[in-house]
Amino acid sequence: MARSRQLAPGVGRFSRSQAASRRGLYKGLKKSDKPAPTETPAFKEVTVGGDKNSGTRLVPTSKAPRFYPAEDVRQPKKSRKSPKPAKLRSTIVPGTVLILLAGRFRGKRVVFLKQLESGLLLVTGPYKINGVPLRRVNQAYVIATSTKVDLGEFKVDAKINDAYFAKPATKSSSAEAEFFEEGKPKAKEAFPEAKSADQKEVDKTVIAAVQKQENLAKYLKATFGLSKGQFPHQMVF
């Protein structure tokens, strides 16, 4: 729609008739062909149990509220904003070495593989080099270095997506069973064979590319840290 720019509060660039002309209102407003809303019946039939309760009853579909506030309270406006997945920084490209800043693997340098639909970044250590497995990581907690590993045309298998990392549904034990267990460490499930196979498959290409550059494997193995006189806003990454 041709919006008329604001010159001062309440004063637009174009007058009402000029704005209407720019919008083409002389052609008439378009009527949208929305289907008529489906009519829901005011009362519905509900079966009632018990011998003396006449089987069925007519019950209103939506009940009137039990309570009305003494004064009309202001309802907050409904927000029209919806969260979208984070945009990938231009400096982060498949093969970029990232420095993780938070979480279990903070300080580790890892290789970026791809961005998942949720916006999180899929990274790998590689596992053999620094113990970081295929993992999701938030872009905000990452420093992108300018060092890149040449992965070529390598594409991570499409089965590794957000659903792959979902936690398996654990059977919640009852309070009695837990009481009898008396705080003994819960039996850990063995790491699934399929996941370690996926890890090895992805790491094969990455490690091959890492070996091509001198010192890069040592670099990924080492942890990042600041020393005296080093300030991140003054450093080049």
């Binding site: 300018s146 001198e214 010192n215 080049v236």
Partner: protein, 135 residues
């Protein structure tokens, strides 16, 4: 008789290092002195446009062009600089080399900093081993 403590003078032909502005870090030649605050500087070979520049934003270097007429234009300065090899003299000075080293150090990226650390360790190791053997 001229036994002054001052060795570097503001004079026509003095090579100066610019401290601030868009051409900071580049060298230029004083073409003409305007007054006690400013001079006209020009650096045709180093990419400094001919302009008036205050002394406060200049550092004098020990290099000067020997033959430069007062108020020389950019073309004359360019010819003289090329003939005397002034830029090469500057680049080979310890001062310029230290500046270049500092700039390189500040511009290292994380991987380069790591590689420097590794090579320093290797050098240290070789030195230590030869020292231990010599002792």
């Amino acid at each position: 008789m001229t036994d002054s403590t001052f060795k570097r003078f503001v004079e026509v032909g003095r090579v100066v290092l610019l401290k601030s502005g868009p051409s900071a870090g580049k060298i230029a030649v004083i073409a003409e002195i305007i007054d006690h605050n400013r001079a006209i500087i020009d650096g045709p070979t180093t990419g400094v446009p001919r302009q008036s520049f205050p002394y406060r934003h200049l550092t004098l270097t020990p290099i000067a062009l020997t033959k430069l007429p007062r108020g020389a234009g950019s073309g004359v300065i360019r010819k003289q600089v090329e003939k005397e090899g002034t830029v090469a003299k500057w680049e080979s000075s310890t001062w310029a080399k230290k500046r270049a080293a500092m700039e390189k150090r500040r511009s290292l990226n994380d991987f380069e900093r790591f590689s420097v650390m590794v090579t320093k360790k290797q050098r240290r190791d070789v030195v230590r081993k030869t020292l231990a053997k010599a002792a």
